[in-house]
Point group: D2
Chain length 165, copies 4
DNA sequence: TTTT
DNA sequence: TTTT
């Protein structure tokens, strides 16, 4: 009886760190900032804006997408789950890191856009139904998750979407 | 064992319809549009943009907020649940309408802003933690939900049943 | 600037209706009930339990999973988006139906279980990260979505790295 | 442009730690476990069950509810946001802790139940619409969140729910 | 380290 | 009926 669900919309702090392994495994890591507006209380107390940094971890078929499109400053929608892992730092002290293991990453139009002139900035919004991964709007369709449950969404040709109902 | 949760971000189609009753009850209704980008399939098929219209229903303490701030064009974040009700139309035919009963409505900065020059447009983002209702950024804190909408939830009778309180 | 997200946990009303098309497209439909407890207001008014029925629509690679495992009574977790479509009924009257287009369907242990003796009922909980679709716990692994973005989720060993693929 | 949303369903690890301050502030902390089923890969590799522990932080009007009802073993639904804070441990080393700041806590029937014999476990499901916080069914309406950002949520009595539609 |  |  369990649910562990995270939904984030924010901006990427710097270009993702991407690693491919001999085994074929792939991982991308990036930090995502979500911000809460500051405000002033009735009594005059000022509560400043607060930024939260999330460690996003992406694996498998989402990695190439992230590698290609997600950049410092990108406005991104992330769905995934929380995971905390521990490791021993250089001094032998046990450390804990909490990460968001993403099972969906999509572009969100925030007005910001990558410096490269690609068109993801024209996205009208996030399209969760689009599947596990996403591709910038107007991106050549041949960018595609090798076969994801969802990718079908973009790769399918005839089927579902021209169903007679 | 049940969960009925909806999260929407979109734009308001026209000014909300607000009604106050003698009983003190209040209801606001507005339509919210969410859009999916169009895209082109690998085979060249063009799947056009698609807009979905949601009937949002707001009650109780959220109503004054909606009445005051939510306008045609507003970028809004809504959390709530799905509810379908039926009614008989003029011709006696039974009709069904699905609505989203909101328990949270907040401004989302979409670049669009109400024509009145208020400050909700300065919001840096939605702040779900802000509570059941929301108020535009920098709004005097005394704007507050006097009473709430969830309440019903908590006064259960029978089943939960026989809890000693 | 758009988000259209639905998360439901409930019970399936009857065995899904599954259709495969010559085009290769596949669709499964089933109804899902979510319930709210009844309660009594401070003034003594009794608000009875309320059951909401959702029309779930599943496409593509999720269809075989649904066909095989989802049955009347199944406790199910569904993620998707809201979509309303219209059609003309037999009398020529325009009708609207709101459906939840699922991009994730998983078993949830509700104590209810399919009559067939399979083991999905032993699931410890829903595992959204597990992917777009899901498979009952302890199900022979060979049941699997033909390779979805998530499915990888089932193949991991230790952590990120060192993955054998 | 920001969203930081967490939805968890799991079991409480031990009785919450509750503190009230002279200022009137109140905080409750408890750990919540969510579990992923283990599974076996096609190649025979066994991936064991994995339990994730979340640090839940509750404030204001939700505190009395948590203090009274949430116990070790309770099946609980939590909605909130992720927050990471740092502190210096005894040895002067900077540590980070990620917590979930809840703005909604509700009972979920998981079959598990508090040791005290109350019946919250018989709840038919979580009712997110019920509000920012929650209390077991049948609670006298006077149990109420005094007035917090969310709290307002709990004070209404009659209205809305006996609206003529 | 991002954004507004 | 909104927005990009």
């Amino acid at each position: 009886m369990s649910l562990n669900k995270v939904i984030l919309i924010g901006n990427v702090g710097k270009d993702p760190d991407v690693r491919y392994f001999d085994s074929g495994a792939a991982v991308a890591n990036f930090s995502l900032a979500t911000s809460e507006r500051g405000y002033t209380l009735a009594n005059g107390t000022v509560v400043p804006e607060r930024t939260e940094w999330h460690n996003i971890v992406v694996r498998r078929d989402l990695v190439p997408f992230v590698e290609k499109w997600v950049k410092k400053g990108s406005g991104v929608y992330v769905e995934g789950k929380i995971r905390t892992r521990s490791y021993d730092d250089q001094t032998g002290v046990k450390r804990y890191v909490t990460e968001i293991h993403a099972d969906r990453v999509e572009f969100y139009n925030t007005g910001t856009r990558p410096a490269d002139g690609t068109q993801q900035n024209t996205n009208a919004g996030v399209q969760p139904i689009a599947g596990q991964s996403a591709q910038p709007a107007n991106t050549p369709v041949n960018y595609q998750q090798p076969t994801s449950s969802q990718s079908g969404a973009f790769s399918e040709t005839s089927d579902a979407d021209d169903l007679p109902f």
